[in-house]
């Protein structure tokens, strides 16, 4: 172990990467996660001892690393991952939050949950099986959620003799498919999670591969540029008015910058009212600053005393979004009760919650082949579909393609508060490749 002071000095300056893993049952996701955690000090002695003890008690020869992430009784009993687990580990270069999402078909909503906050998704493939239906499903969810970076980890290379040709064929097929869906960046890495090839250390068995290991890639992939390149959006969470002797006139709008950069002196428009003002000051958690950017939590003061409350959106007048009461979006249905045409719901968009009605469900997406099933009438758990929703009040909604933060929303059941669906406004995939990929049906060629 290197000097700890040095280690601390390095770690304190690092950035944070949120990533999600996706893989089918038995393609080695737990082993990969286990190895990443293990080699970065995140599996400590007492945790490992607990895993070893339980594994031994069950008569397993080697410690079952899945026990590290399967935290619920039901998961351990059944040996499957039911729910998303969040894991934390760090290297000298970066801190990581890993959303470990279950791979079962019936838990699409869990991958959506994990991918919604991820900067990167790792899709695992078994080198012996290549790209299968489930791989395409994971790629489609990553594309739909606009995860900026996708890693294809071709696992179990040890079981195919570490052959470059096997890897190259899978990487080519996947890259073509995911690019068609609009995934902006795909990195394919040949690995053996079990043997440790190219996970943390470069593999001696695959000298034909010149790219990064999984960990190197996670450490160096750029984050957060997508948030600040967009026009600024500032949903007002809470109005701070101390009304104290010390601050008799202070009126600040507290919120987290959803995208872009805010500057003192900038002309802004408040939506949906359309009133305009100028940023008089920005308080970044106790310090006065002249510039702030996403995802900082700040308090904004304006030069004019105008009527602003929770749910309003402050944006630069030069690039303010339009408001609408007719929302067209792709939703992933996450609840057990179905969502039908005519349903009265609540829509939660940024800090604003309004009443809405589901006017249409034009189509349901079949993730296996990305075909559209027209007018399904309703969506059930784990369905992904297009919806048209009419809202009671105007929303300042961006396209999800432009901002994951101001283009996303929840549909909520007003009766019991259940989260029904995760919504993404605008076009579903970055490119319209739905028709071309349907040709990929060699299984029927007889």
């Amino acid at each position: 172990m290197t000097s700890t002071t040095e280690q601390f000095a390095d770690v304190s300056a690092t950035t944070l990467l949120r990533f999600a893993t996706a893989g089918s049952v038995d393609d080695g996701k737990s082993t990969l996660v286990g190895r990443l955690l293990h080699d970065s000090k995140s599996v400590l002695t007492d945790q490992m001892e607990a895993v070893e003890a339980v594994s031994a008690q069950r008569g397993q020869e080697a410690p079952d690393l899945a026990l590290l992430t399967d935290g619920l009784r039901a998961e351990r009993e059944q040996g499957i991952t039911i729910d998303v687990a969040y894991r934390y580990f760090a290297t000298a270069r970066r801190r990581f939050i890993l959303a470990d999402t279950p791979g079962h078909v019936q838990y699409t909503r869990n991958m959506v949950t994990g991918a919604s906050t991820a900067d990167l998704a790792v899709v695992l493939v078994d080198a012996r099986n290549g790209v299968i239906e489930q791989t395409r499903r994971h790629a489609a969810v990553a594309a739909l959620l606009r995860v900026p970076h996708v890693v294809l980890a071709v696992n179990k290379m040890d079981l195919v003799g570490y052959q470059e040709s096997v890897f190259a064929a899978i990487a080519e097929e996947f890259t073509a498919y995911a690019s068609d869906l609009g995934v902006p960046e795909i990195t394919a890495i040949p690995i053996s999670a079990l043997a440790g090839d190219n996970v943390v250390d470069a593999s001696a068995n695959m000298d034909w591969y010149g790219g990064p290991t999984v960990l190197e890639h996670l450490e160096t992939v750029p984050v957060s540029h997508d948030l600040t390149a967009c026009p600024a959006r500032f949903p007002v969470q809470y109005v701070i008015r101390p009304q104290s002797a010390e601050h008799p006139d202070y009126r600040g709008y507290a919120g987290q910058i959803a995208s872009g950069v805010l500057r003192v002196g900038e002309a802004v428009t408040v939506l949906p009212s359309g009133r305009t003002s100028v940023i008089a000051g920005i308080d970044a958690l106790g310090e006065s600053v002249d510039i702030a950017w996403a995802p900082q939590s700040v308090t904004v003061r304006l030069t004019d005393d105008i009527d602003i409350s929770r749910g309003d959106l402050i944006a630069p007048s030069a690039s303010a979004p339009a408001t609408t009461q007719d929302v067209e979006a792709t939703v992933c249905h996450v609840a057990d009760q179905p969502l039908a045409v005519g349903a009265r719901v609540l829509i939660k968009h940024t800090t604003r919650t309004v009443k809405a009605i589901v006017k249409e469900i034009p189509s349901r997406l079949t993730l296996d082949d990305l075909s559209q099933h027209p007018n399904p009438g309703q969506l059930v758990a784990n369905d992904i579909g297009r919806v048209v929703v009419r809202t009671a009040e105007p929303l300042a909604l961006d396209a999800y393609a432009d901002s994951r933060r101001t283009g996303s929303f929840l549909l909520i059941d007003p009766a019991d508060g259940t989260t029904l669906a995760a919504g993404m406004a605008g076009e579903s995939f970055a490119s319209k490749a739905e028709t071309t990929v349907q040709a990929d049906e060699e299984g029927w060629d007889f």
């Binding site: 002695t45 399967d70 619920l72 687990a85 809470y238 101390p242 919120g255 003192v264 600053v289």
Partner: protein
């Protein structure tokens, strides 16, 4: 007017507007506090005087400055708390002009509503006074300092965790939590547990304490104390019921990694007397915070999950 130094990115980062990991975690936690302030009627912060709740309070103070924190505090006092910690608690409450509710395990035992356990530990007994306080004072959002890195059941916990009228947690019926859109809807009688530090690790908490210059109770730093060994834990000798026959007290140089009930919170051998020394010690520790110091988590493989189901944090 300048941009705060710590908001600047350091060498090696990848974008002009990247945030350091501590800034990103701070920003997220503040967002969570403000969401609750905006959407709930009567939130409360669980405050024990331990480092996680101290960091929570610090974040809440920053989130609403220059206005006061719009929440009251609640402490479940087991009756076996460290006196230094209670002193810190009361001083902090007074300093910030806050209001503290105390739910007392001792009162429940004295009135016969709770019975002392044979093993003497009072940690599991906290659940009843906690949930009754939430119901009787009608809190609809309860902030806890729980972190997902603490324990495998907690790794499954949502940031906004809906509890039924009995305060129970049902891990199979959790709402999916998407983007930063937290759904706090609840029926009358139900409440939501909120964990702003969900994504923080023990090391993050300590680094943040160091960066912000936050004062802590002294028991977090190395000091000589009379302790005795029980079930592999160094416990503080005291009137709460230790040492028993066959358990020998001895003076050791120790510190606490967590602060809780004296009957089940173990000390670790340490000579770390400063924040930097504590951080250095944690950075190389091969034991988790709870594994090193909590006897009650060792009761069974699913001890935490089972307690959480009943209403524990």
């Amino acid at each position: 007017m300048t941009t705060a130094a710590h908001l600047h990115t350091d060498s090696g980062s990848d974008a002009p507007y990247a945030l350091s990991h501590l800034d990103a975690l701070e920003s997220e936690a503040v967002h969570i506090f403000r969401e609750v302030a905006g959407e709930f009627e009567k939130p409360v912060i669980l405050f024990s005087g331990g480092k996680d709740s101290i960091v929570m309070l610090h974040l809440a103070l920053k989130a609403f400055a220059p206005a006061p924190v719009p929440f009251t505090l609640l402490h479940v006092d087991t009756g076996h708390n460290f006196p230094e910690v209670l002193e810190y608690r009361d001083r902090t409450v007074a300093e910030h002009g806050l209001r503290l509710h105390v739910a007392s395990v001792q009162e429940y035992i004295d009135s016969g509503k709770l019975r002392e356990r044979p093993d003497g530990t009072r940690n599991p007994l906290q659940t009843v006074p906690l949930t009754e306080a939430i119901q009787s004072l009608k809190f609809d959002a309860v902030f806890g300092g729980g972190r997902r890195d603490e324990e495998k059941a907690r790794a499954k916990e949502r940031v906004f965790s809906l509890r039924d009228e009995f305060s129970q947690w049902d891990p199979r019926r959790q709402r999916p939590e998407l983007w930063q859109l937290y759904n706090g809807r609840h029926a009358p009688g139900e409440h939501v547990r909120v964990f702003p530090l969900s994504n923080w690790t023990e090391l993050d908490v300590w680094q943040y304490i160091a960066r912000e210059g936050i004062e802590l109770p002294e028991i977090y730093f190395a000091h000589e104390r009379e302790v005795f060994l029980r079930n592999g834990m160094w416990l503080t000798a005291g009137e709460w019921g230790g040492p028993k026959e066959g358990e020998t007290p001895e003076k050791r140089l120790i510190r606490y990694r967590t602060v809780g009930d004296m009957s089940c919170t173990g000390a670790v051998d340490s000579d770390a007397t400063t924040l930097d020394a504590v951080i250095a010690e944690i950075a190389v520790s091969r034991l988790t915070e709870r594994g090193a110091t909590r006897a009650d988590d060792k009761m069974s493989e699913a001890a935490m999950e089972d307690r959480k189901r009943e209403g524990y944090f």
